[in-house]
């Protein structure tokens, strides 16, 4: 089964968290941009065509007409004005909704027509005519108004209830989404911290795996890694071996032998002015890796190193040829890379053994002719 990378897992939580907060913002935008204008449009009807009930406006015109016809004498101008008001009233009264839902509408419209005809004919308008032609339609319109107001109130109440429920749902949704966002963010943060902790631990383990626990310098693996991290660069490798270290241990004990090793690591570092990285290759053998493009420079380092160690004059009670600890040093140059390193290491080791064979307490630099990091290396020892 394919394993999902750790970073992708915690990126997934981050995405979920960001999506939650984005959804929250969209929800708020929806509420603000669409829902509130809808409420505004619903309740802000004042001043437009249906802002005031058509029935109310129609009734107003009928009442004006009635006013005109009740004032004696009813002259032509009054009849003309009353007729005009009746026309307006009729147009606002003749609405499909009123015709279909209120049975008094059609008789009222017919009564208005009759009243208009009477006004046009010039016939005298009697109280009975006004009662039938105007008061009955006014009563009808009042009934419509009252019913429409009731209906509007119930519709408004339902709308308000719907809106309240909708807002409650949106609020609940917002809270849930917000907390989901927080939870996702917390999951993301937890995974990120875990990943960070794991990375830090890995680095610590890697560092531990690459260092020598006794002396604190690098180990053989560290040397390989360092060499491979600077492929192509000219390097010098110096191998240092303590002469008669077994005898030292046998005489003074391994704890003192360990102290000598730790001391030696410091001495090598000082002698090379901190320019080299040090490694313990195993037992009493150390290696120093430094930038070096010239055999003479490398020879200078070796000379300075051996001189520094002699100056330290560490006592060795069982040394067959001297009273102090002596060292054998072999060195070689190479161009960083796996194959060249192997060759360089072998050359330095051979040089070291030549020093050993020559009586120890000395140094030698192997001359390496190389064809950039290839296996065709010809080693020439000096």
């Amino acid at each position: 089964m394919k394993r999902v990378p750790h970073w992708r897992r915690h990126l997934g939580w981050l995405w979920l968290s960001l999506m939650s907060f984005t959804l929250l913002v969209l929800l708020i935008a929806y509420q603000t941009r669409w829902v509130y204008p809808e409420i505004h449009a619903y309740f802000s009807q004042a001043g437009n065509l249906t802002g005031q009930q058509l029935a109310t406006r129609s009734r107003d015109y009928l009442q004006k007409s009635l006013d005109l016809l009740l004032v004696e004498p009813v002259d032509e101008e009054s009849r003309h004005q009353a007729h005009f008001q009746l026309e307006l009233a009729y147009s606002l009264f003749d609405i499909g909704l009123y015709r279909n839902e209120y049975s008094c509408t059609r008789p009222s419209l017919e009564a208005l027509d009759a009243m208009k005809l009477q006004l046009r004919s010039g016939a005298r308008v009697l109280p009975e005519d006004l009662r039938h032609g105007l008061l009955d339609p006014i009563r009808c319109l009042t009934e419509i108004e009252m019913h429409q107001l009731d209906r509007r109130s119930s519709v408004t109440a339902a709308f308000v209830e719907d809106t309240r429920r909708h807002q409650g749902q949106v609020l609940m949704g917002s809270v849930v989404i917000f907390f989901l966002g927080l939870v996702f963010w917390w999951m993301h943060e937890r995974h990120r911290r875990r990943a960070e902790h794991a990375t830090r631990e890995s680095l610590e383990w890697m560092a531990r795996a690459l260092s020598d626990p006794l002396t604190g310098v690098g180990n053989r693996s560290a040397l390989h890694q360092d060499v491979l991290s600077c492929v192509g660069q000219p390097k010098g490798l110096i191998l240092v071996d303590i002469d008669y270290f077994k005898q030292y241990n046998d005489r003074l004990g391994h704890p003192d032998g360990d102290k000598l090793l730790r001391h030696l690591a410091l001495l090598i570092d000082e002698a090379l002015d901190g320019q080299a990285r040090l490694y313990r290759m195993g037992g009493d053998e150390f290696a120093a890796l430094l930038d070096c493009a010239d055999d003479d420079v490398l020879a200078g380092h070796c000379e300075r190193l051996v001189g520094g160690l002699r100056e330290a004059a560490l006592p060795h009670p069982d040394h067959p040829g001297a009273a102090i600890v002596t060292f054998s040093v072999g060195a070689a140059r190479f161009t960083a890379g796996q194959t060249a390193f192997d060759a360089g290491y072998a050359a330095a080791d051979q040089a070291l053994y030549r020093v050993k064979a020559g009586g120890r307490d000395g140094w030698q630099v192997a001359q390496v002719q190389e064809v950039a990091d290839s296996s065709n290396l010809n080693l020439e020892s000096s």
Partner: protein, 160 residues
């Protein structure tokens, strides 16, 4: 006898003539006033009715029935008389209703002159009124959705 009958006939015709020419019958709304940049343009409604060249039938939400409509594309009328379509127009109606509205650069708005083949009068919310030829899927049971259909238009002013 025959002479008196002739007088009665004459008197009846005179009465009918007087009735038809009385002030009540003479309430005429025969002009539509356009005002643009301080200038008034008087449009004869009979001429507008003759020019009406758009005919269609649609469901009138105010009448709750299918009606035959005839009229003019309002935008074309504005272009023809004002040379353009003002952003906002102020409408004045015969019932003293007035309102300022925008969005007239749209050939969906029809200035209605005839309803079911008859010229509109005040009684049919005329002499001219505005409707949308295609009002989409708006709910026709809610008249609030059609409250920018201006009725009984008497005067239209462009708002600078």
């Amino acid at each position: 006898m025959s002479s008196s009958r002739s007088y009665i006939h004459l008197a009846a015709w005179l009465a009918a003539g007087l009735m038809l020419s009385s002030p009540v019958a003479a309430v005429s709304h025969d002009r539509l006033v356009l005002q643009h940049k301080g200038e008034e343009i008087l449009l004869n409604l009979d001429e507008l009715r003759e020019q009406a060249d758009v005919e269609f039938s649609f469901y009138d939400p105010y009448l709750t029935e299918e009606v035959e409509i005839r009229g003019l594309v309002f935008r074309d009328l504005l272009m023809a008389h004002l040379g353009g379509v003002p952003e906002t127009l102020h409408f004045y109606a015969w019932d003293d209703y007035d309102v300022a509205l925008g969005g007239w650069d749209d050939d969906n708005w029809i200035l209605v002159t005839h309803h079911d083949g008859e010229p509109l009068s005040l009684r049919e919310r005329g002499p001219v009124r505005l409707v949308e030829r295609d009002y989409g899927n708006r709910d026709t049971s809610s008249l609030r959705n059609f409250n920018d259909w201006v009725w009984m238009i008497k005067r239209i002013e462009s708002v600078p």
